[in-house]
């Protein structure tokens, strides 16, 4: 107790420095390995993107009754572009919804065969392996390899690709919900002589249902974004036309399409978030939050 300045030594900083330097090294190696990345074009990017964004904004802000210049059909108005984008975005939302339904329908029963408190190990392992395997295949691959040959170039292909992929991710989340239920009600009904089915029906499902439905809604939000991508391989929705329009550098038209995507996505997100909050926290909490 000679001096009042016996402060504890700060923990060493070198581990952070080492990790940071190693990461920077990896990034530099990665950057150097890309020999056809035209890095010298980088400074031009902001200018060009701003210019395109300006044209897109022009398209969005133009009165919908006006006629765009340079189009083959002189009768075409900006309003037609809006309506067409809305219709295709509606198709994207619809196929995302159907895909989510397919995913929910199949993942729900399967999850009970994958949870440690409802299924034995021999059943559990193959089902979990199945969930992980389909999660690892991106939707767009499923669409290209399986769904396009089956359904042709239409929204059913996209919906099924999204649906199959969702089985994996929803299955994993649902089984985690099942494993997280309070074991006491399950033990109580088991003690009263309930069968496996009765235990699940009366003690497990009522406990895990709200979280699971909330996950379905969340997955629907994710799938709307995925459905826009599937359009690029012509599996339905707004992506196909967006791909064509942006590649054709029709910035005004593309701007309207992007605006529709942004508006619809945010609206559905908000609606879904409100529903999820209501499902998870009840009416009172939602009234306070709103």
């Amino acid at each position: 107790m000679t001096s009042a300045t016996t402060r504890p030594k700060p923990p060493p900083k070198w581990p952070y420095t080492a990790v940071g330097l190693a990461l920077i090294g990896i990034v530099l190696v990665a950057g150097w390995s890309l020999d056809d990345a035209k890095w010298e074009r980088l400074p031009q990017f902001p200018g060009e993107i701003l210019q395109y964004a300006g044209q897109m904004l022009d398209g969005v802000l133009t009165w919908p009754g006006a006629h765009p210049e340079g189009q083959a059909d002189p009768e075409l108005t900006y309003g037609d572009w809006w309506l067409q984008s809305l219709k295709l975005m509606g198709e994207s939302v619809a196929l995302a919804w159907i895909g989510t339904c397919v995913g929910a329908l199949f993942s729900f029963p399967l999850a009970f065969l994958a949870a440690s408190n409802t299924a034995p190990l021999v059943v559990r392992l193959p089902v979990r392996l199945f969930f992980n395997a389909i999660r690892a295949v991106p939707e767009i691959l499923l669409a290209v390899i399986v769904m396009l040959p089956l359904f042709g170039l239409n929204p059913m292909a996209g919906a099924m690709a999204i649906g199959i992929h969702s089985i994996g991710s929803l299955g994993k989340l649902t089984l985690e919900n099942i494993e997280a239920v309070d074991p006491r009600p399950v033990e109580a009904v088991a003690a009263a002589g309930a069968t496996w089915w009765q235990r699940i029906r009366t003690a497990v499902i009522p406990q895990m249902m709200p979280e699971t439905v909330a996950f379905w809604l969340y997955r629907f939000e994710v799938n709307i974004r995925a459905s826009a991508i599937l359009g690029v391989v012509s599996a339905g929705g707004i992506g196909a036309l967006l791909n064509r329009v942006l590649r054709g550098r029709e910035w005004e038209w593309g701007g309207i399409m992007l605006a529709v995507i942004i508006i619809v996505t945010i609206l559905v997100d908000q609606l879904s978030a409100t529903l999820r909050h209501r499902i998870l926290h009840g009416a009172e909490a939602t009234a306070v939050a709103a």
């Binding site: 990665a30 992980n132 042709g152 929204p155 826009a228």
Partner: protein, 274 residues
């Protein structure tokens, strides 16, 4: 059952089980609403499973080719497959690094714990607009400026900023207020608060979000290739348009293995971090 047998000796004429509560009107409304949406959506996309039966021979024909992948593509380290895979890895690494660094700053501006109200009220809606566009939409705009891996890197960078900034801002919102109050009492500036109390507190969460987007970026490479923004997806689209299913199968196998490996690795790291 057991309740009924217990009641009988008492001579009570009726079972006195409590009545089951009626289902709430909201539940009924919710189910009806979901059914209605499903019917409309199914009608909008012409829902039909008939093609599964009609087109089954077509699918088996393709799968026949898919199950005989071109192994030479995988075993030859100088094949296009490995070059494309290296490109995909490089794109994902650079985009994750740059995007996450920027996202940390944006997250600090997007939480009411670290930023003044005027700033976070602007940052939040801007972030949700950025996130509402899929990565592919950015890539489509960027490939109009230049082709190759650069538009892919930029598209993923923006996409990563959106996700990491949102998740990190939510972590910052939940930071323990104790150290912050201590710093405020000692007269710390905003920068000092962020540096000393906020960033160290959210660092483990932040690192796990970074790993998560790295995973997403590897998956996204398939999508980016489809619009010509570089990486292994370009190869898939090439073989798809040529109906070269054996070569495509080789690419798919490699993607599958890489995605699962990165999944497992990042799960392991995240479990240690949080």
């Amino acid at each position: 059952m057991s309740q009924a047998t217990l009641e009988r000796p008492g001579g009570s004429p009726k079972q006195v089980r409590p009545a089951q509560p009626p289902p709430s009107p909201l539940l009924i409304g919710g189910i009806l609403g979901a059914v209605a949406v499903t019917v409309v959506a199914g009608w909008a996309i012409d829902f039909s499973l008939a093609p599964v039966i009609e087109q089954w021979p077509m699918l088996t024909m393709i799968l026949e080719e898919v199950v005989h992948p071109e192994w030479a593509e995988i075993t030859d380290p100088s094949s296009r497959l490995w070059i494309a895979l290296k490109e995909t890895a490089a794109i994902a690494i650079i985009a994750t690094f740059v995007g996450s660094l920027i996202a940390l700053g944006v997250a600090l501006l997007g939480s009411k714990v670290s930023a003044p109200p005027a700033v976070y009220r602007v940052t939040k809606p801007v972030m949700s607009v950025i996130r509402s566009l899929p990565d592919m939409a950015y890539a489509l705009v960027f490939v109009a400026v230049v082709t190759g891996p650069l538009p892919g890197i930029l598209a993923l960078t923006i996409f990563n900023i959106g996700i990491v900034a949102k998740l990190t801002a939510e972590s910052i919102d939940a930071v323990d207020p104790g150290p912050l109050e201590a710093l405020d009492a000692a007269g710390a500036t905003r920068w000092q608060r962020a540096r000393v109390a906020i960033v160290p507190a959210v660092l483990p969460n932040y690192a796990s979000y970074v790993l998560y987007v790295f995973e997403l970026n590897i998956r996204a490479s398939v999508v980016l290739g489809a619009v010509g923004a570089g990486g292994i997806g370009q190869l898939i689209m090439l073989y798809f348009t040529r109906d070269d299913y054996p070569r495509m199968a080789a690419v798919v196998i490699v993607i599958f293995v890489v995605v699962i490996a990165i999944d497992l690795l990042s799960q392991f790291l995240r479990r240690r971090l949080v």
